[in-house]
Symmetry: D2
Subunit: 346 residues, 4 copies
């Protein structure tokens, strides 16, 4: 079979470079062109010496990427994807957006949280939200895919089965999340300067993070009733990984057994969701560099609280890996193609 030609716009950012890494062992797609505003003319392996002799492709322009590719992944600052997406769609290319431009269905929410507008509402109508475990059938064959954010993958994967099955209250849900530093991107800043972040731990954007409406959109859609979430992200002094510790009030009479059954039924056969055995807790280290999401369940009988803890690699299932999973669905490939990697044990 002919290889799908893949282009990456913004390839030198963390998400972009991770797409390139994963494509290296993809059986049916190959990296055809990459672009970078900051590093045009440089090989990707000059920016990331880890890639020397592996991915020595040179960064060109966004135009070149579009011209050479069947599918374009765009890792751009929020707001810049709408125009590029329109162009790709017009030219018959698939477009998978790593940014937030197409994630929210409500323009009002987009304005409130991102300060932008939908420049082409009809285009937004075509976009599908790329969380395959919940929207798989909608994604198949689509050409315009909004790839979810990292927290917005981890939290719904932890909570949806319980919400769908009506086992927890929709009011009072709390998502206490902790992310590795790569989630903040490659640009140096005071707060991510090594001596400031090392041996530190804190929360940020408390109850004020832009992923809040996106999480609520997914939970609401899957439940059929409005769901609000108190969302507090924290910054871990590690490179990769998100742990989402989610709390919800059990509905009266619900048993732990019912919860386990709901999750087992929901995730049976899912290639990338690993429901852990009772008593085990998800850990970010066990999913590192892989597309897995580990999910673990607990009930606090003393307080009537359900606790679901999920772990993903924010750069893989939370970004690049999920994007490739979406590409596979879009092009009719095996959904797991290129993503069956064994995470290192240490």
């Amino acid at each position: 079979m002919e290889q799908i030609k893949v282009g990456v716009v913004g390839a030198t950012g963390y998400a972009g470079s991770e797409i390139c890494r994963l494509l290296y062992s993809h059986p049916a797609a190959q990296l055809a062109a990459i672009s970078s505003v900051s590093f045009e003319g440089m090989a990707l392996s000059e920016v990331y010496p880890a890639y020397r002799q592996v991915i020595d492709l040179v960064c060109g322009t966004q135009e070149e990427v579009v011209a050479k590719s069947d599918v374009v992944f765009a890792a751009l600052p929020h707001g810049l994807s709408q125009e590029l997406g329109a162009q790709c769609v017009a030219e018959g290319k698939a477009f998978i957006d790593m940014g937030a431009d197409f994630r929210l269905e409500s323009e009002e929410d987009y304005k409130a949280w991102y300060g932008g507008t939908f420049t082409d509402p009809a285009l937004h109508e075509q976009a599908v939200y790329g969380l395959p475990e919940f929207f798989r059938e909608k994604i198949r064959g689509k050409k315009l895919i909004a790839n979810p954010g990292c927290y917005t993958t981890a939290v719904p994967l932890a909570l949806v089965p319980a919400l769908e099955a009506g086992l927890i209250e929709q009011e009072g849900i709390i998502a206490d999340c902790k992310s590795g530093v790569t989630g903040a991107g490659r640009k140096p800043s005071q707060s991510n300067h090594y001596p400031e972040l090392n041996e530190s731990f804190t929360a940020y954007k408390v109850a004020n993070h832009r992923h809040t409406p996106e999480i609520e959109q997914t939970l609401t859609k899957m439940t059929g009733k409005p769901v609000k979430v108190t969302f507090v992200p924290h910054l871990l002094p590690i490179n990769r990984g998100i742990l989402a510790t989610c709390y919800a009030k059990l509905k009266p009479g619900v048993t732990e057994e019912q919860l386990w059954q709901a999750y087992q039924a929901r995730y049976e056969g899912e290639p990338f969701v690993r429901l852990l055995p009772k008593g085990q807790v998800a850990n970010v280290k066990n999913v590192r560099t892989s597309n897995f999401c580990d999910v673990s369940l607990f009930v606090d009988g003393r307080t009537g609280t359900f606790i679901a803890i999920s772990a993903i690699d924010n750069m893989v299932k939370g970004a690049a890996g999920q994007a490739i999973q979406n590409m596979n669905l879009s092009f009719g490939l095996e959904e797991t193609a290129g993503l069956l990697l064994c995470p290192p044990a240490f």
Copy 2:
């Protein structure tokens, strides 16, 4: 003034060695004797080379410590402090217990969570719980002090002012806590082996940690009505520090301003509680090696949720520093004596 003679039983554990470090610059107390079952006959500086030429005292027996001291700090495994405490009290020594034996007032709770019994209930009657910010007047002059645990210091300091002032609901409180590794002690284990813990993050003893009844005891006592808490601890790949992210439902009509006023009133003049300005978030790095507890407040207006985030050094305000603060109160010294240290900025 004559120096108070201090003894430390279990000096080679993390909490014990930290008491020794802090006493080194105490103006009115000096280390008189130390003991260790594992390292008897060795100098403390052989066990911790950082202390070379600073604390070269040799570990003797528990008996020697009692004989030579005016006050005995006991960092012993749970269950072993009751007998030693009885002996110290009988001999007129002050006894400050770093373990859990005297913390819980309810023997039923002690049985349920620790599996032990109160060998001398009359002795328990004499014990006072050493959280000075809430029980200062009861601690003054007392000879038998139960030093609180780490989580059990951080969570009440975050929540009590709001509970006392009746601004939050007593139902549905969640304490999502994250601790550095020293909290697990000095004994090597698989889970704290460097390559297993480095770049990892997970929860442990989910809704099942022994500090739960101790947290509830303090919150209940300060509120006058029973309070239950869902408590989930996590393990951070850093050495020191606890961040407690606490969630509670706001009572109807409560304003953010009321919350700030309650905390300001409560903590005004407290030497070791730093209420951070609005917008700043507590960070474990800012309290490292110090006796400070930083407290930060947030309100999620969208969901009606109060969020209080506190940070302590689990080995200082969460153990050794608080113990010295209690000693100061017990002996009528300046409460801050020996504890006015500037935490390193990095």
Copy 3:
């Protein structure tokens, strides 16, 4: 082509588990059986939850491994491989030893540094030393391969081209090496307990490490004249990687250009050695989880000193990856089979 059946004895140690991980994506070999004394009866994914749904093979006995495999990798404590190696050879299996039993050709050195004897000298005669870049032709088709240690891979790859070409003095060579913690194995110890090792850095076994005679054996063999090395290893607070900073006195009149030419000629076409461009320095992060060895060269004209700095992943090129490279040579497969992985950039 029929898949080669691979067995791993000692699969739950770090080196053993890493062999299993790499085999997961090997096109011509598959994991057939594993054993572990400590975890017999448990799935590898119970010991390493990262492997869940990826490598769920159950640990059996050493006997089962031998019976089911075409090639046996043995990650055993030093001294235990001789008997197993003899058995495998007798049964016509290939045997790749991760330990030191077959590495040293001199029984005298083995006695002096390991305190053991050659139980079957004829067997040692059959063993070949598995450093493919220098002994490739000897390894092809062989059934008994001594896989080198980690330092003993990094140091010769840094120094051999200069020694072979006669550009540096054989006297006075210094190898100042720094290793990640996985090199010390999976068994918890005080020195590798997280709070003791985190934010620490020191040397160990100064001029007294068992890899010294093995390094000297390779350098001597490649040079034809006896070479001695002052070797000082250090322990880095990271999981993976060795950086070897090697110093040697330049021979009179030697130019930097000559050195570059010698290395370029030596390593041209080597799939796993990346000679870095002038000015770049090898970094352990760039080879992490891969079989690459990065080599960088410097000359201190002020003092007439040659400095070669190499970086490997101690668990891959320094252990499991090199072992698979040796298996590929032994079985006549493509030497790079299963090892063409893109190292993560972060």
Copy 4:
């Protein structure tokens, strides 16, 4: 006694802020004024929240600092200290320079390595080099002190006793050094961005670092004959600390015993040098936040090599602590005043 009034120019950098921290517990000196170009008008505790309620002094201008102080510490970029030093000396203030402007006696070296000139050679004549263990008597009472760099403290403290005693060759000395990240300063950069540095290790400025001539100046001065050093610094993924592993060729017939005697004689009574017992190795963690320099000695009899390994906290003995030690000498205070702190064991 009246307190010495101390000013810090450049107080918000790492070295400057560390001077402020140490002064907090100094018995005879107090922080009178601080300045910062970047943070003028802000409290030091706004820049470093760790200092809240401890050092809330507000950053003013350089002029204010000079006006209010008896002694000025200048933590300025290289090249800016000469003018300020001249001003302070003219006004009768003591001036302790944390930068390199007054460290090198040879203007030729200064030009070659820093690209600057001596704007006032007579001023340079007055400057004394502030390494108290070797130049104590020259420092006493002096008003213009060049505080050494970090590597330039660690390497001479490791090597001088052996050189002075004529036990090692002056040719062929190698200093393989490893530094924590704070040595690179507070300004964010790509290479010190957390995800790039975490789990990484490499060398930098190989045989090309500006501390080279300064190290050689001290060794030459203490030996009376020219000494050259091959110096290679590495960057450790930790916050604080330098480990210097120094290699030299033993002179013929020299015994290990002679070396120990030379070091014991040299460092007897030194308050901040801890010569470790035979077999122990210096570790950066044991000197963290303290002014100690730990020194450990080894002989490789196989190759005739002497190995001295020293450890300091680069920000204390390698910067701020040593500066205060120099102030104490300059003002006739107890040399250890303000510096007798117990380093944390973990």
